[in-house]
Symmetry: C2
């Protein structure tokens, strides 16, 4: 088994304008919180809040491209959003293996995204299977 409980992984992500514009171009979510600076500020945010599901896109890349096995498929994901992410935020991603179930080729992870102020912006867990 390529995974052991306690294994740690890390990655860096930036919510660039290309990522933000690309996400909107693909998924068409133009909720005012994401696109209207005034609306976002009236509701107590520093500026337009980036779509939470951009982080799930980053997670897709991590699972598909950064693990020591390529023969993986996601079984489930959970994410809790704790603090807003803004345009050009630099995010530190950490993941850790929390369980390895060899008889069914399933591996569980927990993860977090932190911003440049070391504030957790999102955390959660996911389960993958080996195919």
């Amino acid at each position: 088994m390529l995974f052991t409980t306690g294994d740690k992984f890390a990655a860096k992500f930036v919510v660039t304008k290309a990522v933000y514009d690309g996400f909107i171009s693909v998924f068409k979510d133009k909720n005012p919180l994401h696109v209207d600076e005034s609306f976002a500020m009236e509701h107590g945010f520093k500026g337009r809040v980036m779509h939470g599901n951009i982080l799930n896109g980053f997670l897709s890349w991590f699972i598909g491209e950064c693990l020591p096995a390529k023969n993986v498929i996601i079984h489930s994901q959970e994410i809790q959003y704790k603090n807003p992410v803004y345009l050009n935020d630099n995010l530190s991603f950490d993941a850790q293996v929390t369980g390895v179930f060899e008889s069914v080729d399933v591996i569980e992870f927990k993860f977090s995204f932190k911003n440049a102020d070391a504030l957790v912006v999102a955390k959660g867990k996911f389960q993958i299977g080996l195919i």
Copy 2:
């Protein structure tokens, strides 16, 4: 309150080539399961499996654009992937309000995506807050 427990919503999505190519262009997840037809078929799939997080992008649009309130933010999401989604699959999305917590302006939903064979491809729940 604009939401009542039991409220139902529905939407249709297609995983078009534009969505698939766009997702890869934004997030760079080129895991062979998603881009290599032979690899996917060798592992028992009918063809390239679409990224599960494309469904989370659809969910972003639903939450941001289709609800009776625009002043919403996602608190948390959970998704379980049950069956593969392939290119050009037509997906029926159903969501239902499972809880309304007025004192904290929080609304809980459950949802499912079904393919054209009425097979559940993914299901889960999410919680939003009114801002």
